[in-house]
């Protein structure tokens, strides 16, 4: 279940999507990413996310498929917002359902690490000093590299 949208989402509803109406799901791990109000020591006014429609969904689907190959999962949710966001707003959520707690956690972490380095999103920050494109972080590449086989 992959979605790219401008609207906010409800974490409970996204988690429920994985287990509502069924009773074979024991474990749901999830992650919510939020806009921080400060960047590079400056106050952040807003963040604007742009993406590559079509390729984004393809890459997210590919990443989800890869997670399903690596772990026994009963469901995956990935929701990513685009457009203008204010400090404190939700940006992204991934959630994974599995019979095994550790698989759910690992898969959720894997999804985030791969999403950060492969899904075609770009963040632009409006800060006190003006507009700045966010630079990719080496630490995200390293996090993704952990999963290489």
């Amino acid at each position: 279940m992959i979605r790219v949208q401008t609207e906010d989402f409800d974490p409970s509803a996204e988690i429920a999507r994985l287990h509502a109406g069924r009773s074979d799901i024991g474990a749901v791990a999830s992650f919510v990413g939020l806009v921080r109000g400060e960047s590079h020591g400056e106050k952040l006014t807003s963040m604007t996310l742009e993406h590559f429609p079509g390729m984004t969904e393809r890459e997210l689907t590919r990443i989800a498929d890869e997670a399903r190959e690596r772990w026994k999962l009963d469901g995956i949710v990935v929701v990513h917002r685009v457009g203008e966001l204010k400090p404190g707003e939700r940006i992204v959520m991934v959630a994974t359902a599995s019979g095994h707690r550790q698989s759910a956690f690992e898969a959720a972490e894997f999804l985030m690490d791969y999403l950060k380095t492969r899904a075609p999103f770009w963040k632009r920050e409006l800060r006190s000093s003006g507009e700045h494109w966010v630079e990719a972080r080496g630490s995200d590449d390293e996090a993704a590299a952990r999963w290489r086989r």
Partner: protein
């Protein structure tokens, strides 16, 4: 060939997408980037540092050695920063 630009690449080039007649001998993503850079102006600025540039051909991440040809859709963009 259809070219698409994102983030600061788009801002520097000054447009989001365009269709260009690219010479046949421009056969790789890297050659295409150099050819665009040679057009000068915003292109020269956008493609000045290819270490900061990433590309996709037909919506798939590729490296600069990958082939391109007339019917392809080629996207240039900075390293991604979602999540």
């Amino acid at each position: 060939m259809k070219l698409i630009y994102f983030a600061w690449v788009r801002q520097k080039v000054g447009r989001a997408e365009e269709v260009l007649d690219v010479p046949r001998e421009v056969a790789t993503v890297g050659a295409l980037a150099s050819w665009l850079q040679a057009r000068g102006g915003g292109y020269a600025e956008a493609f000045a540092d290819l270490k900061r540039m990433r590309a996709a051909v037909n919506q798939e991440h590729v490296d600069f050695a990958s082939p391109v040809s007339a019917g392809d859709e080629v996207a240039f963009f900075p390293p991604v920063t979602g999540g």
